[in-house]
Symmetry: C2
Subunit: 276 residues, 2 copies
């Protein structure tokens, strides 16, 4: 955990009164800082402490007030990873000290954001917790691709799942439930398990040619899009992706993207490569 004061001013409480602390769990959105909500910006401006992680766009922190203390607990952007217990402890300590604490997370805090663990811990200690929703990655990436995630008369459901599992655990998802040719599936944190995920979905009945896309650094200037069929996507990601956060969308809506032709080209190239 790296802690450093934001040196654009002082952090002192001018009123000097003892207040009740509060914690705001805030979704920073899918990447680009201008996808923050107005409510998120207002609370970031008001925060005395901001505990943040996994922010794709550090500009989100530019809204912090001059006296705000910024505490990085994320793995990316040169910070060391911090355990959930340590994060819970710092949130609690600052709230107990009467501070207005913002816990800033990428996307929406309630979608694979471990908000539940932080809420439970703080509630057990009587701390007030507010949640500010954010644009979750699947919605941000789909918008960047120019596609809807549902499509009237064709795709009537959207399934958000995580490909991440606890260290040492096997990925135990309900494959038949996920392999839905009539729905769209958005896969969060699926890079490590992408080959397994694709294989299991196909075994469970999803057609191998189902259109898919991996979006890296979605909504940022560095965004990269890798289109392929679900069968070909793992290899395409291995050869083309960098190390940024990856979101995978699987389903017929992907073929509505203006860039989808590159998916067909990737499929063709990989097929030729395999048979060479």
């Amino acid at each position: 955990m790296s802690v450093h004061a934001n040196l654009r001013g002082t952090g002192s409480d001018r009123s000097g009164r003892r207040r009740t602390g509060e914690v705001w769990l805030i979704g920073a959105g899918p990447g680009a800082a201008d996808l923050l909500t107005l409510r998120a910006v207002r609370l970031i401006q008001r925060a005395e402490v901001i505990v943040y992680d996994h922010l794709a766009d550090a500009d989100c922190l530019d809204f912090a007030g001059p006296g705000a203390e910024l505490i990085c607990v994320g793995k990316r952007a040169g910070c060391h990873s911090t355990s959930q217990a340590a994060i819970n402890a710092v949130l609690l300590a600052r709230a107990k000290a009467g501070q207005c604490v913002v816990r800033l997370k990428g996307g929406d805090p309630g979608i694979f954001g471990r908000a539940g663990e932080e809420i439970e811990h703080l509630a057990q200690h009587g701390i007030r917790v507010g949640i500010v929703p954010g644009v979750t990655a699947a919605l941000g990436c789909a918008a960047a691709l120019g596609i809807p995630l549902t499509h009237r008369g064709i795709v009537r459901s959207l399934h958000l799942v995580t490909g991440h599992c606890r260290s040492g655990e096997a990925l135990d998802l309900d494959w038949p439930r996920l392999a839905d040719p009539a729905g769209t599936t958005a896969l969060y944190m699926g890079r490590h398990n992408l080959s397994l995920l694709a294989a299991r979905l196909i075994e469970a009945g999803l057609p191998a040619r189902t259109p898919a896309v991996a979006v890296e650094n979605g909504t940022l200037p560095s965004e990269r899009r890798i289109f392929a069929s679900i069968a070909r996507l793992p290899q395409a990601v291995r050869t083309q992706a960098g190390n940024g956060p990856l979101l995978v969308i699987v389903g017929d809506v992907v073929a509505l993207a203006p860039d989808w032709t590159t998916g067909r080209l990737v499929d063709l190239a990989l097929a030729q490569h395999s048979s060479a």
Copy 2:
């Protein structure tokens, strides 16, 4: 369709140059105007025409520039409903006339927002279309309830589905796929079919006691929350809900809400009523 100019200024194009028009499909978020994104606000400010519907909070339109023309095509807020074909036509006509057009929709435009139909129509005519994602209703309502939609080690997926179907069609959802005790289901536009939905989910294996909540006017001051088991929710909604937009969340995460005890009370009251 009601059309009225925003009379705070003039709508004339001062440059007089013929420009290429563009259409922005913008998510207005789940209700409260301060859940708009910064990007949405900037584009609303820039728009020459705003075609809007289903806005839970009319304050979203306060960001419109003084010369912007506001066109209501929604069913609510005293407007008459407009056919999709008529909406497509007005978007196309204004973009062809070189205007900067904002199409403002509640929630996220790509989630049950019929964005696909508008994108296809505009793309066929060579109009540039941008999408600005928004906070979809499920995320906004969950944040207001104080619950996460996924919970590490317990709930690893979120399923968004619509209970709305085309006029005259039967509701034909994949019930076994939806009846997932290990996932959270968010049901959009499910008021009309709620009894059927609950019955089918239970038939397909979802425990009748699964916690559920119907959120009406989510994130607004008029928000109303109706907690009950999935088996009891339809009757509770019939007796307690008003006529506002309704989102239903089903799954064990609902019991994490501080207000969930009222759900148990509703179950008890309805059970006594039934046996009386």
